[in-house]
Symmetry: C2
Subunit: 493 residues, 2 copies
């Protein structure tokens, strides 16, 4: 790393310096006035044939940062620009080296319906939901991280703002804006402490290989953050983008249940999307999550569907319809949660949640998890994190393994009988899922002359029973007459 | 009963003579030629202010009958008409007395969405399906009747014609037409033996208080009965109507899976309906049952929807939509069967079938049962009858009791939360059903000042637990956190 001859430039590396790591320029500047609104700052980062622009942000105490995630190894140079003379025109260069192990770069869409890391490795999203886990204080947050570490989840939906809702009455330790509960908030003065904490948690997730599906707005609010003036929304978004878009594991979710945010108009969501996509040169995944009506996922900036089920009974079974309709990856973030609360969205069984995961998977979609068991201390995983008590996570892990073992680590639907969805690769690999049905056997008819090994998979008991011999043409596989069975046929020759 | 002075008239009573019983005029006529096509016969039955016309039928051996179900007590007279001189112009009269105990008359539609017997008593249809039970020989047929006797079912779907399908390869003992397997059938010469047997079974059902939902055509056929010429269809229908419409417990189902009968055109079904409604003065219930596309239940002759679920996952939960769409009773004859065969229509659990019954019931519909457990002798209840082995019938009986205990012995949907359907009478009676959801409690909010008793109903374990005290306004009911629970609130004062 080389420095220019500029006394104010203090360039240090935050976290990793490798490819897809977070490179950070640290600067000193004014602390008077309102640095959030009165000062412009940014830098251009240049490699052999590319120039990338990134805005900087104010971190309090006269500290300014410009962050950048280099997506190519090799030499990069930069030059700052600012309305403040001493932060303007600073130049430097650095070498982007091999990625730190475990950092495969940001996730993006691959082959219309799927995802991969920037290094080309397939990414199979297996998401959970802990909306307000970063607002629970150190002890619980560390427990959540510990739980995640041994869980099957590699994506988490989480809100920037604190949450006010059923089972969410506690105050956060720190707030996103200057001000106080008593005196109100100054939406034009962000609280760096709050965002420093948030980004530490995002970095924690990154080290666990977990994508942070960051919810930028949500309607469960008693502080006013859901109804800020448009200028405050925009300032907040620009601040978040400049601080966080250099984290390789961030996704943008404009809102949870955008359609419940009555103060927002359709054009607001489009403006937010424009601000984010303009300010995030890494092109992180971005979508908007519904309560009732879906967002229009055909908008060009929407990278994937972020779906809450719109029917109480039929959820991930509609994946095919949604794939056909939007021609983008179908991520069903909320299909109801395993639990026993008094609300229909949070009291299905582990069996039913696991079934919904499978129904989505064999149709080429990705279903998300949440857990809402009543707790005397009101620590429900879906919002606060903590411990997992349910029966589905282990089975979801089993499914993840099955998907990762499939060709290309993905499942695409194949034509099948009306009563048994099937995924795989024609002539190579077939995964049939029987759901709640309980056949004692099933007849199959594949092309003659190709031999397959056959496995009977119990998706609930997590067993794979290889059937003796190989199978060809028309054949019968015996099944145990229980729900939640699958059959996998893999070409043998 | 008085007779005219006519040597050929031999009037006897078949079965009951009471109201809604079967009055029968027995005549002797020619046995040469083709009496089925060459001879017309009928009678007019007259009471104080009504005249009802009924066609007669040939029963072989020169025996002719004209049947009539009197729907009013008192004096009736009749006069025959025929193309055969000695059967023409015979007059007589008879007294229609009180109905035989257990005969409440035919069922008809009551209050748009429900049913009642002709005597005014509510009829809550709780149907099962044994398509081909009357073609199985005496021993099995009697076992079926014995099973039905101790079952909760008061309606059975059954085919006139024998059935050829999976698990249905045996030949019937007797065929509906003259001819043989080897030499083919004469569709213009019906086999009285066949129909005599059928009507005995219908009478057996009547004695058990069971409605015979008689399927007139079906596509599961290897004999040709599904593809007869139109003239044969019409002759067959006129024969069936003249023989059977005087049975109080008959319903007409034009077809099972009418849309799989490729040789029939839309206008055929309308012609069949016209023949039946013209020939059946009792106005028995009549509908047409789908496989894929629903029949157009808005046709004026259709008395009720006779539905097969059109979605693998969402079945009786669509009852509300269907009620609103057709404004007629919603009878879901097939929502899938309890069993373990290799077909998706026949391998759901007893839990799931019972759940579908409840989901339909609390939306003001009527779901039907079927059972398809694999059997080494291929005796599956859904087709051949025999014994019931499943877990759902007992629970269906429990539901029947709950419905019959409800005001008016019926359930109508009430406005409710999105996640808990509710049926009952506003301000009087509320039945909430939680389905697969498993809340540990539920908050209710009813109008203040009215007190209710509350019961927690376990629809699977068939228990009703009265909660201590009474409840008013906003209150909480604790629940066990299991699936398949209901809460019943009954006005206490």
């Amino acid at each position: 790393m080389t420095f220019n001859d500029n006394a104010n430039a203090n360039i240090k590396v935050y976290g990793e310096t490798g490819q897809w790591g977070l490179f950070e320029i640290s600067l000193q500047g004014p602390s008077s006035g309102n640095p959030f609104t009165e000062i412009s700052l940014g830098a251009e980062f240049m490699s052999a044939d590319r120039t990338v622009s990134m805005a900087g942000f104010y971190d309090g105490g006269g500290n300014y940062y410009i962050r950048f995630m280099p997506d190519m190894q090799g030499q990069w140079s930069f030059r700052t620009f600012s309305s403040v003379k001493e932060m303007d025109g600073i130049t430097g260069s650095f070498l982007c080296v091999e990625p730190v192990p475990g950092n495969r770069g940001p996730v993006s869409v691959k082959d219309t319906f799927h995802f991969s890391y920037a290094d080309g490795a397939p990414y199979v999203p297996v998401g959970t939901t802990c909306y307000a886990w970063t607002h629970q204080g150190r002890e619980l947050e560390e427990q959540t991280l510990e739980t995640l570490k041994s869980s099957p989840f590699n994506k988490i939906r989480m809100c920037v703002f604190p949450k006010s809702y059923l089972y969410n009455s506690n105050e956060p330790e720190v707030y996103p804006f200057a001000g106080s509960l008593e005196e109100g908030w100054d939406y034009f003065s962000l609280n760096p402490l709050f965002f420093r904490h948030l980004e530490e948690r995002i970095a924690d997730l990154g080290r666990l290989g977990i994508e942070a599906d960051l919810i930028l707005f949500h309607p469960y609010d008693r502080w006013g953050y859901a109804e800020m003036p448009p200028e405050a929304d925009d300032l907040y978004l620009r601040y978040v983008i400049s601080r966080l878009s250099a984290f390789h594991n961030v996704w943008w979710s404009l809102a949870n249940e955008y359609d419940l945010m009555r103060s927002k108009q359709p054009e607001d969501w489009e403006r937010y999307a424009a601000i984010i996509t303009a300010g995030d040169p890494s092109g992180h995944l971005i979508s908007n999550h519904n309560c009732g009506a879906f967002y229009d996922y055909s908008k060009p900036w929407v990278t994937h569907c972020s779906i809450q089920r719109v029917d109480v009974y039929k959820t991930s079974e509609s994946t095919t319809e949604w794939r056909n309709r939007w021609n983008k990856p179908v991520v069903i973030d909320e299909c109801a949660y395993e639990g026993d609360v008094d609300q229909g969205w949070g009291n299905i069984s582990g069996e039913e949640l696991t079934r919904r995961f499978w129904e989505g998977a064999v149709r080429g979609g990705y279903v998300g998890h949440g857990e809402t068991y009543l707790d005397p201390e009101e620590i429900l995983w879906w919002s606060k994190g903590g411990r997992l008590n349910g029966t589905s996570p282990e089975r979801i892990g089993f499914l993840r393994k099955i998907v990762e073992e499939s060709p290309g680590s993905r499942l695409d639907p194949l034509p099948s009988a009306w009563d048994v969805p099937c995924a795989g690769v024609e002539g190579q690999y077939y995964l049939y899922y029987f759901g709640f049905n309980r056949p004692r056997f099933r007849n199959f008819e594949l092309e003659p002359g190709v031999r397959y090994t056959a496995e009977v998979i119990d998706t609930w008991n997590m067993s794979v029973e290889k059937q003796p011999g190989t199978f060809e043409g028309a054949f019968r596989i015996n099944l145990p007459g229980r729900s939640y069975m699958a059959v996998r046929l893999i070409r043998a020759d």
